[in-house]
Amino acid sequence: MNLELEEIKNATILRIKEKRLDAHNSPEFKDRMLKLLENGNVNIIIEMSEVRFVDSSGLGVLLSGFKNAASLKGGLILTGLQSQVKSMFELTRLHRVFKIYPTLEEALGQD
């Protein structure tokens, strides 16, 4: 799975360079997030502007990352959601759980 990591002041940006986040790659995505958290990177910004499609397992993995980050007094925020991907968060009401910013710039401004 193609992920790009960038460490910035107080946070780690995780860019998902895949068109789909689904049952095929979400287990690996979960592992990568867990490793980050274990290594003390508890503030994660997920940039997903390349992701065209998210299924229930992708949503589940993002939710578990969010919960794990919170339990470590950190945070996980989402940026760059394509409109159809955003609809999946709205349909499941997960948009009320996550902090979602249109762009990385806005996320960084608010961080």
Partner: protein, 145 residues
């Protein structure tokens, strides 16, 4: 069945190995079919996403819950564009389950589980699961108008 109705029917049958690697392929085929449905008044890109999603969820469930590893002939999917309705069938050879007794997810206390059938039931107009010794089938229908 008149000539003109007949003219607009499309059927796609796919067999893939029981492996998540092929979810995207069948999802893309679902999107391709959605783009070609002429008599759909809604947004075709949204319909494409939704077919991609219900196909992905149904196949992922077969891989996770509905596989018989002794007798593994792959996953059979069929997408049938009929006159007024789109019918998707996904077969499995597992022990089956009772669709009606699966509780809806509690969206106010999300756990991340149980969203697959929620999407399928929410995005399609009619969903049935038929069990048989010869194999089970999840049938998902969407009215085209």
């Amino acid at each position: 069945m008149t000539g003109s109705n007949y003219q607009s029917r499309v059927k796609v049958d796919v067999v893939i190995p029981t492996n998540t690697r092929f979810l995207g392929l069948v999802g893309s085929i679902g999107e391709d079919v959605a783009r070609e449905i002429d008599r759909y008044s809604g947004d075709r890109e949204v319909l494409g996403y939704n077919l991609n999603l219900v196909l992905t969820e149904a196949m992922a469930n077969v891989i996770a819950h509905g596989s018989n590893h002794r007798r593994n002939g792959g996953i059979k999917i069929s997408i049938h564009v009929q006159e007024n309705e789109l019918l998707i069938r996904v077969k499995d050879k597992g022990k089956g389950f009772d669709l009606k007794s699966v509780p809806p997810p509690d969206l106010d206390n999300p756990t991340g589980g149980g969203l697959g059938l929620f999407f399928i039931k929410t995005l399609m107009d009619n969903v049935q699961y038929h069990q048989a010794k010869s194999g089970n089938v999840l049938e998902m229908r969407k009215q085209l108008r």
